[in-house]
Amino acid sequence: MSPIPLSVIGGFLGAGKTTLLNHLLATAGKRYGVLVNDFGAINVDTALIAARDGDTIALTNGCVCCAMGDDLGAGLERLAGRDPAPEHVIVEASGVSDPWRIAQLALIEPGFSLEPLVVMVDAAAFLGQLTDRWTGDTVARQLGFAELVVLNKADLAGDLAPVRAAVHRLRPEARVIVAAQGVVDPEVLHFVPPPRPTPSRFVADAPAHGFMTQVWRPAGSLDRARLRAALEALPRSVLRLKGFCRLAPDGTSHLLQYAAERWAFTPQAGEPGFVLIGTPEMPDATATAALFGPTEAA
């Protein structure tokens, strides 16, 4: 079974996270499983509700929405155990939490694969929040590991240039998209299409939302220490590395997920192949190949 893509959506109170989720649930083209903080704010057309049971709402389109509760891992386990399982899980971080903390859990929770860390910003209120004596550091911290920043309520913000500048100062690596009323293309919840086998070791792929991707397909088993050293040496412009590989000496297949200098290997079967995702400043294919060392070409 391939891991379920998991997206974390963060952002301060009022940034439009719930609006985005309500919109995604109502217009879903796939079975989303959504864990929300403020269950009461979920507001989908009653015609869409198939069943409601305590803190779970099942929709006629196959989506399900649950209250997060105290234990995020337990909530994820509950979602993954549903029949049928969701095709994509979205976790709404609370308005004051650090979404990166939540995203890290997806690196170790078996059966999930972390998609871009999305942080929503209320473009009209952001600069004020950043200078607020009580909220400034919380808002800045939420952007610290963002990969995709949605400048929401752009229609209310007037000049976006200073907002963009502030986001860039806090997290130069993040890609920025602009939205109004929390409406974004659901495709932003994916980094790239699943890696496909390619003939060479690293191949530059077309950018998605301004991210660069490279795909690498190792032929043999990898040495843990060597791989670890390569991961430690990755520059910040490489946001992600994910995919399967066989690890020496016994060649068992592992899922490797790397994000923002944190990573985890979990034993899981899969077609060997990594995708690297980064900013346009990320090292080119030759430099990355040099970093990961010689491998047999497929």
Binding site: F12, L13, D38, F39, G40, D70, D71, L72, G73, A74, E77, G95, V96, S97, D98, R101, I102, Q104, L105, L107, I108, E109, P110, D132, W134, T135, D137, T138, R141, R224, R228, L231, E261, R262, W263, A264, F265, T266, P267
Partner: protein, 544 residues
Amino acid sequence: MPQTVRVFTARRILTMNTSIPVATHVAVREGRVLGVGGTELLHEFGPVERDDRYAGKVLMPGFVEGHGHAVDGLVWRNPYVGFYPRRDPAGVWVEGLKSIEAVIARLQAVERGLADPAAAVVAWGFDPIFFGGRRMTAADLDRVSATRMVMVGHVSGHIQNVNTTVLERCGFSRDSNLDGLVRNGDGDLTGELQGPAVMGRASRVVGDAGILRAIDAPALWDYARIASRVGVTTSTDLANGLNPENVAALQEATLSEGFPLRLVPAMRQRDYGLEEGIARITELKRMSNPKLHFGLVKITVDGSIQGFTARLRWPGYHNGAPNGLWYVAPEELGAIVEAYHRAGHHIHLHTNGDEASELATEMVGRAIAAHPRPDHRHTLQHCQMADAAIFRRMASFGMCVNLFANHIWYWGEQHRALTMGPSRAQRLDACASALAAAVPMAIHSDVPVTPLDPLFTAWCAVNRLTPEGRVLGAAERISVTQALHAITMGAAYTLKMDHLIGSIDIGKHADFAVLEQDPYDVPAGALKDIGVAGTVVGGVPTAG
């Protein structure tokens, strides 16, 4: 026919009742105090039953724990491995463990007693701060069992230690490079887990959620037994989800014959939407009984100082750690406080750092300005770093405080060295400043974070000693009288129960703490050593 009048005689009765502060006799009828005084009580109420069992003892009003957690009755189902000796619900002293070796030995003994080969060994209360920097490792716990899962929770609640079996089953390895997985110099995992993400995963894998289990009636009985032994006749449970199952357990226990404790659970606000929560607390108030008082709402504003999750004002954490976390957004806090205040409810706010206390005070002030209401008694719980200015502001709004005096002993040295630094730590749990600003004050244990024992809590506030023998903030020491007030009338006032408990006065519940010595007859440094022979609850003597 009126019930019999029973007159308890005592060597001395410290009533905390301003009209009759000292007495030797107390008359009780229908569970309530009928009279306080001397031998005249034996003749004034017609035929009386004289009860001399406390003739050699000193009676005080039953102590009131303004911030405790009834889960203390539950944690004892797992082995205790703390540094300090602690008394279990049966009254047996469990020896404190002074080395990691001793912890391992206790766990090995527990392991040998387990029949089910799949059962996990889960212990609580571990506190390594006096082990000279030596941390527990997975290899240590592997000596308890190489096949069973072994998990040890730290007393602070922010750290766990696990053995290799747990690491493996969680999928944590050298190649899990995540925040919260502690590593040694070689990059290997030590088995120490920090923070909710990795701790939560381990708890789920071990299948023993420890203090997250639901509290049943037997656990409430165990908590009441622990309370009786230290003279406590009323305790909060701060907080409780108060779902139907929780309420059923509370009712079952408090309505059972001879239950020796009045419980005051606070509804955990974040378990409910705003309107839903207000409706629930309104409904709960009608479900109270003489030993179960609903009405408090608890809101958690920040984390803990020693966990570096409390919100601090300038200059932040002494060791340079980043500021802690808001558990609720400042603006949202304002809306929640306003809604509960406006609906007439009684709010207790958990604020550890001074920035959290400042914010909570501001938000309560705004709610009061918008919807004036006398006698609300909104209370800051912990409020450990507040300075005189915050206390003055609280006083201006009519707020109360419940300070965590036990922290001075248990974490004072750490606050001095790491979190607050030597100057700011002088005002850790600044009882004298609070009283100087005329803020109604209680002091607390936060049991099970520290043991329930109000005389110990009073000793902390009076002496402000640390285990290094240092007096931390001499100017914040309070008198024995002030401390005894804080653990009786002070706490009762913060619960809006000062008309029912907290002093021995006519019409109030006949709830007494039975002491072996008069607190005024012993040096202030010996306050914590006064023996407690038990309690009387509603006129009924309970075993000590």
